[in-house]
Symmetry: C2
Subunit: 411 residues, 2 copies
């Protein structure tokens, strides 16, 4: 007997037939004797429509009302899923965020979960009742509905799993697990049976949108074993058909590199001939931060003449024009000669906790790319990741070459 | 300065533009210095879709889950309407049933309102804040969402108006008031500026679907002045462009008859040759009640032979087959000779509190119909109403003739 949280995303509950399918998947776990809590998202498309309604009335809307409106999507799915379970003879009831309650702060539209009162919930789970919980939402200190930000149902599920000390949190989605790289590009990509929290975090932050970053952070912090799996797969979740996201200790033989990730949402800006004096970086990145531009990779070259230098950094494609505007407005102050911008770039990263204890990982990456004639524009590294910025046209070539070079190809 | 409750139905909040229109109507009252609470229904079509979802999963669904699902429609509108008001510079916030709370019993899907905690609400109204309240819903004693049955938002509005001692409850709908009869049939129908609760109740129970019957009963009980008016009308509600539903005392010169109503949702059943002995009516109507068949008009003829009699009664068209089944099953026990059923009938009623003090109202009705050659099949009367059952094909003819006969025609 285990206690499991099952989370189903918008595609998995996209229509009545799919909700019935979800109920059948839950029944398998109930029949196996497990205690089951289910967390559901809104039916796919519903949240977008509700967000559109809000935007149609007021572009800068009150986030408290936005939350009341958009949280309704999950309310509907929770009730329908409870009905579908009852139809299969399972005792089940829906729970809204405010009913449990899932207490959050009052930062509407991106609230953070504080405490979850689980006493009644756990009593009912122990008695065999299935709890169907509306994801994505909670209750603010002054009694209003809050939402956790897009993709927040993952966070609801992991937070709940931590609170009720679940043995596992299964995140059902439309992919069947986490792959060594994007299988649409690299046909030899393999599904990983296990991956560490740290690696998953790097994958998630690079745009491999399998799990919301915050949910992975939370799982890591509370040691929640998370499984990513497909709701369209026939296997029972307890047979572990997906990818388990777990602590490093749980992975017996760690590969050097677990996966190759990439992000096309990158733009590169180079300021040529910036005065090389103390405070110039602060003078440059301060105004960008004020304009809410997130800067990722940063490289400052050693200056040739000791008087001026070049600074290159990346921002997301959507922030490029805003960044350019900010920098052109402060041209006088920053005293750079020219601003070069390029959005035809991609960030490719090799990720693996194994590289902590092994040298040569970065070197192998550089050599592999060089052998294919791919120029590296910017490099950044972390403890478990090496990222390079290259021209976007080389994306597929680079991914395939690196996948082979690190021994990740399927047999 | 008055305190007003404004209620907007599904058509009035049917899309974003209409919600903005609602906000403009509310603003007129706010600008005039009134304290305003707004009660909203779900956007038209939404509740039906949600009901369909529930039925698609489970024909005999758990009403508690049904309530969680369908109450979401009003939640969306309440948030959107608050946003639209804010966009016009008005301080406003949404309130869900559970937030106020509007306490109900636990009869899900048709809950009755118990108490409404208005302290915080009234404090905010007094400070100039507009409260936008999700209609149709409340909170059960054990913390679950309840709904009040179809059309329940009218009841929410009237109950709220009673609780906060509002000067008026304006029910915005897609008609501009209550008419002397159906203007689609009788072109000379006039809009009534005032009507009594009792008359409105008779109108409502006869299928003039302007106000939900329960909301009128509640208004009468608590003396809430209700106005029925159109949300597409340009006039301000405080200029009283619609029909006021009020106490008899408020109507200075009472007409003999206020309106002519009709209901096509009638079917007539006659049992021929029923044994004429004590207990036969109970033996007949008991099983019908057990099968949830509502019986309306009942006529029992004097028996010719002293041994058997004929009993005629009406049920709604939708109940006819069920009623027939019940009666055929108890044929042996009831010992009737034949069962005759006819659903080509219409019930026409003249309604007016004035008839209490005037004789001859019924007689004028019978004579008017006789003059047109219309046969009366069943008659029933109440203190302020005379109803007759006639063949459905005479509906229009009867309505026009009666409208003229009682002096209701527009000049």
């Amino acid at each position: 007997m285990a206690r499991i949280v099952l989370k189903f995303g918008g595609t998995s509950v996209g229509d009545i037939d799919r909700i019935k399918n979800v109920a059948r998947k839950v029944k398998v776990e109930v029949d196996a004797g497990h205690q089951v809590a289910v967390v559901v998202s809104a039916m796919s498309g519903v949240t977008n429509k509700l967000v559109e309604y809000c935007a149609g009335i007021s572009p800068l809307h009150d986030a408290r009302e936005y939350d009341a409106v958009v949280a309704s999507g999950e309310q509907v799915t929770s009730g329908l899923t409870a009905l579908a379970l009852q139809e299969l003879g399972i005792t089940a009831r829906s729970w809204q965020g405010w009913q449990i309650p899932i207490r959050t702060d009052d930062v509407h539209a991106k609230a953070r979960i504080g405490t979850i009162e689980t006493e009644e919930l756990e009593r009912r789970l122990s008695s065999g009742e299935v709890a169907v919980i509306a994801g994505f939402q909670g209750l603010s200190p002054n009694g209003r509905i809050t939402t956790l930000g897009r993709g927040g149902s993952d966070t609801s599920a992991v937070a709940l799993a931590a609170a009720i000390k679940a043995d596992r949190c299964d995140i059902y989605t439309d992919v069947d697990g986490v792959y060594t790289t994007d299988p649409r590009i690299v046909s030899k990509a393999r599904k990983l049976s296990k991956i560490t929290y740290e690696e998953m975090l790097e994958m998630a932050s690079l745009g491999a949108k399998v799990l919301q970053t915050r949910s992975v952070e939370m799982a890591m912090k509370h040691g929640v074993r998370v499984q990513v799996l497909s709701s369209f797969d026939k296997a029972s979740g307890s047979d572990l058909p997906g990818t388990l996201v777990v602590d490093e200790d749980e992975i017996v033989e760690q590969e050097l590199v677990s996966g190759i990730a990439y992000s096309r949402d990158e733009a590169k800006i180079t300021l040529v001939g910036v005065a090389d004096r103390p405070g110039v970086a602060a003078g440059l990145f301060g105004p960008l931060a004020d304009a809410s531009v997130n800067v990722d990779m940063i490289v400052q070259n050693v200056s040739e003449d000791g008087a001026s230098t070049d600074i290159t950094f990346t921002v997301s494609k959507g922030d490029l024009e805003r960044a350019r505007g900010v920098l052109e407005a402060s041209k006088e102050e920053l005293q750079y000669r020219r601003l070069l911008a390029d959005s035809n770039v991609v960030k490719v990263s090799v990720i693996g906790v194994g590289m902590r204890s092994h040298a040569g990982v970065a070197q192998r990456m550089f050599k592999t790319l060089a052998d294919k004639g791919i120029n590296i524009q910017v490099i950044s590294t972390s403890e478990i990741k090496v990222s390079v910025l290259i021209a976007e046209e080389y994306t597929e070539l680079a991914l395939r070459a690196l996948h082979t070079a690190y021994g990740l190809d399927a047999a």
